[in-house]
């Protein structure tokens, strides 16, 4: 009996100790679901959550990040100027931050100081690298602002039509379909041209996405749907101006950009009219608006590199409420609806001894970085390398639950047409049609659980 008592007590003791351990923060035998970006995760759920640097940076790296942050928020002005010189003459906005408010998703308007929507343009067909064909006098992007006295290339007009729908239980939702047109062209375009709207995307976690080995991404591609699940996934291979070679595209709404440095240099050049060593020719070169100044490259390499480093070292906020029963239920439904087939929860970054912060990290971007056919509803009908006119890259969902806080009110999808997560889900089509239908026929409680899960990201 005594023996039994002792054994019992010892068992109880063990139980208590185990219970204690449960509350330990990072069990070694399993990864913590909250850590969206491994060691680069930041515990911040405020409106500034997208602006946090990797917590693991050295003092010097932090300094470079800060430098990049300053450039990211500074306003550029027309050359010649003593400071922040080189804007335009053609541009879409005057600072990085004017589109990437709080490092988050932009505002889907065109032409205002806070507008974050830009319009890609091209002629039908493909260029020598398989990419879009530049429009003579316009290039591949419409700059809708100009230095005082210069004429913007065009005015971008945006109109919505609204349509109401309802779920099985009668709950209504409303989808707005945008129509984009150009007016006030500074010079006529002969023949037909293709337009594709792009909203400034969130800046978080880019360094980690860049560190995912190409082999891992390509392994998920299933361009011929060999497994017959209705979901394909194509790796976009694109012309990269930095390396002057064809590379795997990872960034941009159609994965048409291979690296962060190319993304940053292109944004400076195309969005702000600032030349760099990578893109030393003004976006207005050869056009009537060109300033004819021999001041290129306008950006010092150190400035370009600091902004690249800034973009590379922006952290990802940790998930919230991961143990909540409804969130768990929502996560289960997300997987049952096969959302997770494209919005892949987990990727692992490659080993990089030179940059430990992104090296060998288990991350939860909820993306496969592949492009998928998303149906006619979302189509821009403008091919971009291997991404055809109905294809979009799987948008990473990390940080999704904070969009409303970071960019009040928060918009979704490549052109911000969705005003709520429900609308964003219901816009899915093509390879995602079956997942959308699954969601649409769930009970109200289950649909809400899915949303609660998404808000936990």
């Amino acid at each position: 009996m005594k023996k039994f008592k002792i054994t019992g007590l010892l068992a109880l003791l063990v139980l208590f100790l185990v219970e204690c351990q449960k509350s330990a923060v990072f069990p070694e035998d399993q990864y913590d679901e909250r850590l969206s970006a491994g060691v680069a995760t930041v515990f911040d759920a405020t409106s500034k959550a997208f602006g946090a640097a990797f917590p693991t940076l050295s003092t010097y790296d932090e300094y470079v990040h800060e430098k990049g942050d300053q450039v990211f928020s500074q306003t550029f002005v027309t050359a010649p100027a003593p400071i922040h010189s080189g804007l335009g003459p053609l541009f879409n906005n005057t600072s990085c931050e004017s589109c990437h408010h709080n490092d988050g998703i932009g505002l889907p308007t065109a032409g205002d100081n806070r507008s974050s929507l830009l319009m890609r343009i091209s002629l039908p067909g493909a260029d020598e690298h398989g990419g879009p064909v530049a429009v003579p006098g316009y290039g591949l992007q419409v700059q809708d602002k100009a230095a005082y006295g210069k004429q913007p290339e065009a005015k971008v007009n945006l109109a919505y039509t609204y349509q109401s729908y309802s779920f099985d239980d009668g709950e209504e939702y409303n989808l707005r379909t945008p129509v984009y047109t150009l007016s006030n062209l500074y010079t006529p375009i002969s023949g037909s041209y293709l337009l594709s709207p792009r909203l400034a995307p969130p800046m978080i976690g880019l360094g980690l996405l860049e560190a995912v080995p190409e082999s891992q991404i390509v392994a998920y591609a299933d361009p011929n749907d060999a497994n017959g699940d209705g979901i394909k996934g194509v790796a976009n291979y694109v012309w990269d101006v930095t390396t002057k070679s064809i590379q795997l595209g990872r960034f941009g709404w159609k994965a048409n950009t291979a690296s962060i440095i190319t993304q940053v240099a292109t944004a400076f050049n195309q969005d702000m009219g600032l030349t760099s060593k990578i893109l030393p020719v003004e976006n207005s070169y050869g056009q009537a608006q060109d300033d004819g100044m021999k001041d290129d490259p306008e950006l010092p390499d150190s400035t370009l590199n600091a902004v690249k480093f800034y973009a590379q070292t922006l952290s990802v906020p940790a998930r919230r409420n991961v143990t909540d029963a409804t969130v768990k239920r929502g996560q289960q439904l997300f997987m049952l609806a096969k959302c997770g087939t494209c919005h892949r929860q987990t990727l692992t970054t490659g080993i990089n001894v030179a940059f430990p912060a992104v090296s060998n990290q288990v991350i939860h971007p909820y993306s496969d970085l592949l492009v998928h056919n998303m149906g006619a509803g979302l189509a821009d009908n403008r091919p971009d390398f291997k991404a055809d006119g109905q294809s979009w890259r799987t948008a990473p969902l990390w940080g999704l639950g904070l969009y409303e806080k970071v960019n009040n009110p928060g918009y979704y999808l490549h052109d911000g047409r969705a005003r709520t997560l429900v609308e964003a889900i219901m816009w899915h089509g093509g390879e995602a049609e079956q997942s959308k239908v699954y969601y649409a026929h769930l009970s109200k409680a289950d649909r809400d659980a899915v949303l609660k899960f998404l808000y936990s990201l």
Binding site: K2, K5, K405
Partner: protein, 358 residues
């Protein structure tokens, strides 16, 4: 055997006690009613009066511009300059809590973008643009607001005379003044508690229906974050950029030589935010909340804010000169503000995270 039994019992007791540590103890938290009072007063005693003050002072400046344009002499120009500095002081102070509509609707860059786009401004003045208020509102933010007005009324080096200001400049100036006033009115209205959907309601109803702040803690974190941001901006950007480059043209208010006042008013804004005060009015404050749990932290923060503000008195020349001739004093100010920033980002943020639970 009995010993083992007792030992096991004791161990179990320790284990249980150890577990219990994790449970919340209400005494650890600041009281909900104090938190609510702080939020209510933050809007009522600080933000709304500060924004009203900016609007009132912008109106005075606007009237001074009208007077100057009617009778363009140096005395009337001086009156515009004084009104500009007074408006600027109230504006710089509100940068101690730069969140909400001021950020969401770009009122900040609309009034205070920098640098001035001098090349475009010259082209604008030389053009046939009618320069009416509606025309000004179409322009980019680097062609309007405080710094465009500053450029016209002070000129490069602050040497502008009434006679130097052309008729075109005057038309531009009048519209700039009116446009700035319009923006201050929008800013003020965005928090006006008597208007529905005002941001005051979002703050006061944090955690109980506010769509912007799901918890009171969210407001406190936004406030503390913006206090740290302005410290960083002053010490590491506005002061550091011209200092490191040894180039006074990189100084924000270099036409008016008002930069030291700008910096000091920014840190005064931090003091106002922490102590919940504006003018002679005071209210329930974050300071009070901190002191209720940790008096030494509250004393430390107050001492560091005051040290940062008083450190400016070491700079006895314009900032444009100080970056060359008073480098030690400049560094002292930067060091004092950086110390404060570290405390706000560290101890004060930790305090909010630990003690404000809902």
């Amino acid at each position: 055997m009995k010993n083992i039994f007792i030992t096991a019992f004791c161990l179990a007791a320790i284990a249980i006690a150890g577990c219990k540590k994790d449970s919340t103890n209400n005494d650890q938290n600041t009281s909900a009613s104090t938190e609510q009072n702080v939020l209510t007063d933050f809007a009522a005693v600080l933000v709304n009066p500060n924004y009203q003050d900016i609007q009132a002072k912008a109106l005075i400046m606007n009237n001074a511009i009208v007077t100057f344009n009617a009778t363009p002499n140096d005395a009337n120009l001086e009156a515009v300059r004084t009104a500009w500095k007074n408006t600027r002081a109230a504006w710089e102070q509100c940068e101690g809590f730069l969140f909400g509509p001021v950020e969401d609707f770009d009122y900040d860059p609309t009034m205070d973008d920098w640098p001035l786009n001098k090349a475009d401004l010259d082209n604008l003045i030389a053009s046939d643009n009618p320069l009416g208020v509606a025309d000004i509102e179409q322009l980019g933010t680097t062609l309007k607001g405080f710094h465009a007005i500053e450029y016209i009324i002070f000129g490069v080096g602050g040497t502008q005379k009434a006679a130097d200001i052309t008729d075109r400049d005057k038309v531009y100036l009048a519209s700039l003044g009116q446009s700035l006033y319009n923006t201050t009115t929008e800013l003020r209205n965005s928090w006006d508690p008597t208007q529905s959907n005002s941001f005051t309601a979002q703050v006061v109803n944090a955690g109980k229906g506010s769509t912007r702040f799901t918890t009171r803690k969210d407001v406190f974190l936004a406030l503390v974050g913006s206090m740290a941001d302005i410290c960083n901006e002053v010490a590491n950007e506005k002061m550091q950029t011209p200092f490191a480059a040894q180039d006074s043209t990189l100084d924000e208010s270099s036409f008016s030589h008002n930069s030291v006042n700008d910096f000091r008013n920014n840190i005064t804004g931090v003091l106002n935010a922490y102590k919940c005060q504006y003018g002679s009015a005071t209210g329930h404050s974050l300071s009070e909340l901190v002191a209720s749990k940790n008096t030494s932290l509250d004393s430390k923060i107050q001492a560091q804010i005051n040290a940062a503000i008083s450190s400016f008195s070491g700079i006895t020349v314009t900032y444009e000169k100080a970056i060359y001739s008073q480098q030690t004093q400049v560094k002292n100010v930067q060091a004092a503000i950086r110390t404060l920033k570290e405390t706000i980002e560290g101890d004060l943020t930790d305090f909010v995270n630990t003690n404000i639970k809902d």
